[in-house]
């Protein structure tokens, strides 16, 4: 379980995270939603040690993050940010192989090779394993990075807007892969996501943030309600229930 | 003031052939280089671009070097023209690079500009070394107004039209800086405006280098400081930028002349030191 206590972060004079505490359940997909500037990405970066909080502590399985060695933490928790413009001529397989670095330090063992193949298979990238990443489409590249995270084989996987700039097909592919990571491999996935319907369809829990604070933290169906979403986003929602999951319409709603 | 009216003829002579030209040259150069920096920053939409950080000064130096190598008795006019051509070519090339290359961080644009300047300097050095005039070439790289005298500085007045041009076209420079498609959308000819801006910049830089020598950082820090204090409303800030540039240069000149009186520290060095420190302060402030 990931637990954070009284996290505060400011950029200059702007308070981005306002003394927030929460815990993220194990073996589930948790989505962080909220309007732009709510602090979602900052929170994710803080949990993943890319960013230091001004105050507060983060615990991974009841051990403070500061007490982990960086290389050990890399075997427990991985993060994928949205900015992945890498100007290197690497094949997909080369890239996925980097996921094994925390284990092998660059010298791949037979087990590493097996893990790499497994990750490529899991992300359904076999047919482009030997393509260069700079020749892939944005969606394919994003899936290659996700395969790298899978090869890293961590219990906790954090992704910052993994669907950014993806078309519908790739967005669904990515979400299904994440779902399978949780259902088949028992991973814990935390994502920052903007499209509320993807969050509603694929995640188990939703944390809604606004102005650096957590306003809702509950099971998906509890958060995806007209009044809660209106409070978070400031617009009206029309909730439709379909196959046991909520779908939100927020287009052309008469008020 | 009373001293001015009580001057004897010798002092009057010094006043008219040395002091007045020097003051005019300082005011025009200060205003011109600041505005040149301003134009470049608008065109590239990058706060760190200026004649210092885009190779313009080195190009002007190269122009003077070649005019001297080819025509040993080159007049000020020929030197200015050569400097203008080289500076214009260098500025066009630099803008081409800035436009064609996608930069991951805005900091890289001035870095590339400085590398570009280093290349031009390397080429100049290649020829200067062959002709044994490396030391003389260094001399043009330090601005110095002590040799500005009546009859030798008049080309500096060419800065005036450049500044006026900048004022008239200020808005369009900003629009063009947003990109070719953005400009086209608003019905503005991208190429024409960019070329106009670069011509104004090149004119200012080349006449100031020929008359006084290179003055680093001026076009970098003055527009930045004015924009920090007054925001980015062009019509309001542009006259302030010109004024602040003149005042800053006059201030540095007076300081340079008094610190080790009766000798004087060249203004290029004074501005380099003061401007460099201010620039460092600007960077470290952004860093926070």
């Amino acid at each position: 379980m990931i637990r954070f206590e009284q996290i505060t972060k400011t950029y200059g004079k702007r308070l981005v995270l306002d003394n927030i505490s929460c815990s993220l359940p194990k073996g589930k997909i948790t989505s962080l939603i909220g309007p732009n500037g709510a602090g979602k990405s900052t929170l994710l970066s803080t949990i993943s040690r890319l960013l230091d909080a001004d105050q507060g502590k983060i615990y991974l399985d009841d051990i403070c993050l500061d007490d982990y060695k960086s290389e050990d933490l890399a075997k427990r928790l991985s993060i994928l940010r949205q900015s992945n413009h890498i100007d290197l001529r690497l094949t997909v397989r080369d890239l996925v192989a980097f996921g094994r670095f925390p284990y092998s330090k660059g010298r791949l063992t037979a087990e590493d090779q097996a893990q790499i193949d497994k990750a490529i298979h899991f992300a359904q990238l076999e047919d482009m394993a030997h393509s260069y990443i700079d020749e892939l489409s944005g969606g394919q590249r994003q899936r290659a990075f996700i395969a790298m995270i899978i090869a890293q084989d961590t219990d906790y996987i954090l992704l910052d807007e993994p669907l950014n700039n993806l078309d519908m097909k790739h967005a669904v592919l990515v979400m299904k892969t994440l779902r399978r990571l949780v259902d088949e491999l028992g991973k814990t996935v935390v994502i920052v996501i903007h499209e509320i319907n993807f969050a509603s369809q694929y995640s188990d829990y939703i944390i809604a943030m606004k102005d650096g604070k957590i306003v809702y933290n509950d099971e998906t169906d509890q958060v995806v309600q007209a009044h809660t979403l209106k409070e978070v986003f400031g617009i009206d929602f029309d909730i439709i229930s379909k196959n046991g999951k909520n779908i939100c319409n927020y287009f052309n709603i008469e008020t | 003031m009373r001293d001015v009216f009580a001057m004897n003829s010798d002092q009057l002579l010094v006043f008219t052939i040395a002091r007045i030209p020097r003051a005019i040259a300082l005011v025009l150069t200060g205003a011109g280089l600041s505005v040149a920096g301003f134009i470049m920053q608008q065109l590239s939409q990058n706060k760190f671009v200026s004649p210092t950080t885009a190779g313009s000064l080195e190009a002007a130096k190269m122009g003077i070097l070649f005019s001297i190598l080819l025509i040993p008795q080159a007049s000020m006019g020929i030197k200015s023209l050569a400097a203008l051509l080289f500076t214009l070519a260098a500025n066009l090339l630099f803008m081409l690079m800035v436009r064609r290359v996608r930069f991951r961080s805005s900091v890289f644009i001035p870095l590339v500009g400085i590398m570009f300047g280093n290349i031009l300097a390397a080429v100049s050095t290649f020829f200067a070394f062959k002709h044994g005039i490396v030391q003389n070439v260094q001399e043009w790289m330090i601005g110095d107004f002590s040799s500005v005298l009546q009859g030798q500085y008049e080309s500096i007045y060419l800065i005036l039209p450049a500044v006026v041009l900048a004022y008239i076209y200020a808005d369009q420079f900003t629009i063009v800086g947003m990109g070719a498609s953005f400009a086209k959308n608003l019905g503005i000819s991208y190429t024409a405006i960019v070329n106009l801006g670069l011509f104004a910049v090149s004119l200012t830089v080349s006449v100031s280098v020929v008359t006084a020598g290179a003055i680093p950082f001026l076009g970098l820090i003055v527009p930045n400081m004015v924009s920090m204090m007054m925001g980015d409303n062009l019509r309001r800030t542009l006259p302030m930028t010109a004024l602040a540039g003149s005042i800053f240069l006059l201030f540095c000149d007076i300081l340079g002349r008094t610190i080790i009186f009766p000798y004087e520290i060249p203004i290029g060095l004074m501005v380099g030191v003061i401007g460099g420190i201010i620039f460092l302060f600007l960077i470290l402030r952004r860093n926070r």
Partner: protein, 316 residues
């Protein structure tokens, strides 16, 4: 061509050019000429490896193919230091200060300079390598202006002494210094060897490096230390070669597809040595010493840089 063949070609090229460099037009005085050329050869190899190694690391940690450590102002510090010495002592410079002392002070100053920058930038909570570059750049420009000022007011005869420092020369190398520099380089390479594998990961960028468990900040500091050591030693030994780094690293990227730093550093070093040897050979036998190797290298490297800038389609 296959990777393997390219490596063989590189090795053959290097062998040929070394042989040519040592044996071309020796004249009758073999005993005199050969040892002197051997010293020059050793210096060139040392400088080539230092420049290639430091530039490659620098480009990887800055994630940028068009920068060299030279941009951080080391060379300005070096030139300013030499200018100040000559300014103070004039043509008696070398009676007052030996080559060895000069070398040590120059290395010390350049190292102190880089530490100062690191403290200024990394001392603050928010570390940003780009700001380090800008800082180095401005300080470099500042020192350069100082240097130029002193160079103008200096006596033209004394200026020729400074000019000797401004342009790389492999002709006046002191063998003691060469040994010291060689030992330093060897130490740096041995030390750096175990950190090379991390560079492959750092090439992915800070966020991926941290995700994969690297202590990014600590590693960057170690690399910057290594870079400043290598650049200081090679600059103090022969003077500045600004564009060599850009030239050889980019040739390495173009010619060899590998992204493994274990191989890249050696390939890049090989290319650097070939480039320098070729330049020096041209200077000695074609230009008859009418120009210097650094001017030739900067000229060619500069043009190559422009070519890179204008043809590149990728973000840099």
């Amino acid at each position: 061509m296959k990777q393997q063949n390219k490596i063989i070609v590189l090795v053959l090229l290097m062998g040929t050019i070394i042989a040519l460099f040592m044996l071309y037009n020796t004249g009758p005085n073999l005993d005199y000429v050969i040892p002197r050329r051997a010293v020059r050869l050793a210096t060139i190899l040392l400088v080539g490896v230092s420049v290639a190694y430091s530039s490659l690391i620098f480009q990887t940690i800055t994630n940028n193919k068009i920068l060299t450590p030279a941009i951080m102002g080391y060379e300005s510090v070096f030139i300013l230091f030499q200018t100040v010495i000559v300014f103070i002592y004039g043509d008696k410079t070398f009676q007052v200060i030996t080559h060895q002392d000069n070398f040590f002070y120059a290395v010390l100053l350049m190292m102190a300079f880089s530490f100062l920058m690191y403290i200024l930038i990394f001392g603050k909570s928010k570390q940003n390598i780009y700001h380090l570059l800008l800082l180095g750049l401005v300080l470099g420009a500042l020192f350069q202006t100082f240097g130029q000022f002193l160079q103008i007011v200096i006596d033209p005869n004394e200026f020729s002494v400074i000019q000797g420092f401004m342009f790389v020369s492999f002709n006046k190398i002191n063998t003691d210094l060469l040994l010291i520099a060689g030992a330093t380089l060897l130490g740096a390479l041995l030390f750096g060897q175990r950190y090379l594998k991390y560079l492959d990961v750092i090439a992915l960028g800070r966020e991926h490096a941290v995700n994969l468990g690297l202590n990014y900040n600590k590693l960057v500091k170690i690399y910057m230390l290594l870079i400043s050591l290598l650049v200081s030693v090679s600059t103090a030994l022969v003077g500045p070669v600004t564009f060599l780094g850009i030239l050889v690293t980019n040739l390495t990227y173009e010619l060899f597809q590998t992204r493994k730093h274990h191989y890249m550093v050696w390939l890049c070093s090989g290319i650097a040595c070939v480039a320098l040897l070729l330049g020096q050979f041209l200077v000695e036998h074609i230009f008859n010493f009418s120009t210097t190797v650094s001017i030739v290298v900067n000229f060619v490297g500069g043009l190559y840089f422009m070519y890179l800038m204008l043809k590149t389609r990728k973000a840099i």
